[in-house]
Amino acid sequence: MGDLATYAFTGIGLVFFAAGSAGLLRFPDVFSRLHALTKADNLGLGFIALGTSFQAGSWRDVALLALIWGLMLLAAATVSQLIARDALRERDGE
């Protein structure tokens, strides 16, 4: 049962990662690429963390996985904001 949930959730997560990577490669400008990366990859990582938490031995490990996901969300949100602001400045500067 747990293994099945792991397969399902990490599978969904991988699909999101694939979509995010495709967006990164195919989208035309910085802003849409950031959109693809942050939205899809954060969700993908969340699903992978959810999937792996079914393999965790204790609630402590689950909490650690959740903490890692939360930190990644925080970092990704901040970094994408900073990149977007820099890109805006560069576009308006030209």
Binding site: L67, L71, L74, A75, A77, T78, Q81, L82
Partner: protein, 310 residues
């Protein structure tokens, strides 16, 4: 199946390393180098070296990446960002490097098979005072290496500070950061440090028994300080700050004191006798982590530069 995973990982690592060396633009090379460091830390987990993986992710990818990115910014400030024209393709150099790789590969297959690894170590471990064998080697069995390493860190920082111009000497370290008040970077700088400090201290504390230790924890603490400085929440100190200088040398000093204590107890310099080993290593770890955190952060920030005044 696992070999397929390893082969994919190794292929990726080599590809990213090639992109680092061959790609256009120094900024791109640095971004690839950071990706390379992160992939490499996964490789260390695959090799069963979790302590090294932590160090590689925190120092190899994290701090080194920040150092290089900041260097690009500093070069742009000097007006020397123009990329020199790439040289002609070096065919002889490429062949020589391929030969070097070939020679290393040959050396690998010529290496004699090891005896059961760590049999002497396993016998000595119960007397080390800690359960994590890597910490035991670092701070007890090969304490000389680690003591000298902490002094190398100090020497590198002194060398870096010597590069400061005379008129900048009394300025704060590095360049001032301009951050929009209430912006994302400032919020990030407020949110991250509490978690980061907790993780750093936990890594130092847990290092006696599980993967972690003074280097990994100290690096996380250094990174927290860098984030806070980048977010403009703390101002970087001055070269002349006595408290910071004390923090830089406390690690080597406590280490030396423990070494002398070992000699006084008759075990020999830097040999920790079993009764005091556990406590001594704990004291060294805490002092060393403080010194490593401060020294690494200062190394990444760089020497004092003009720009704070004006």
């Amino acid at each position: 199946m696992t070999l397929a995973l390893d082969a994919t990982l190794c292929g990726l690592i080599v590809a990213v390393a090639l992109a680092t060396v061959l790609g256009r633009g120094v900024f791109r090379a640095i971004v690839f180098f950071i990706v390379y460091g992160l992939l490499l830390s996964v490789a260390w987990v695959r090799l069963g070296a979790v302590d090294v993986a932590l160090a590689e992710a925190a120092i190899g990818a994290g701090l080194t990446g920040v150092l290089f990115l900041a260097a690009v910014g500093k070069l742009a400030r000097t007006g020397a960002e123009a990329e020199p024209a790439p040289g002609r393709p070096h065919l002889p150099a490429a062949l020589a490097c391929a030969g070097l790789t070939g020679a290393l590969a040959w050396a690998w297959f010529a290496l004699p098979e090891p005896e059961r690894p760590g049999s002497d170590l396993a016998a000595a471990l119960p007397r080390a005072g800690v359960e994590n064998p890597v910490t035991a080697v670092l701070l007890n069995f090969r304490a000389w290496d680690t003591l000298l390493e902490s002094i190398v860190l100090l020497a590198a920082l002194v060398g870096l500070w010597l590069l400061a111009r005379d008129e900048d000497w009394h300025d704060r370290l590095g360049l001032p950061q301009h951050v929009r008040p209430g912006g994302v970077m400032e919020s990030f700088g407020r949110l991250l440090p509490p978690v980061g400090v907790l993780v750093g201290i936990y890594l130092v504390y847990i290092g006696a028994d599980r993967p972690g230790g003074a280097f990994q924890g100290g690096t996380v603490l250094a990174a927290v300080g860098l984030v806070a400085a980048l977010a403009g929440l703390i101002r970087t100190p001055r070269v002349t700050g006595h408290l910071w200088r004390a923090a830089m040398v406390v690690g080597p000093l406590v280490f030396l004191a423990a070494g002398v204590a070992g000699a006084a107890l008759g075990a020999g310099f830097l040999t920790l006798p079993e009764p005091i080993a556990g406590g001594a290593i704990f004291a060294i770890e805490i002092a060393l982590a403080s010194s490593i955190a401060v020294t690494l952060a200062f190394l990444v920030i760089g020497p004092p530069e003009r720009g704070h005044r004006r």
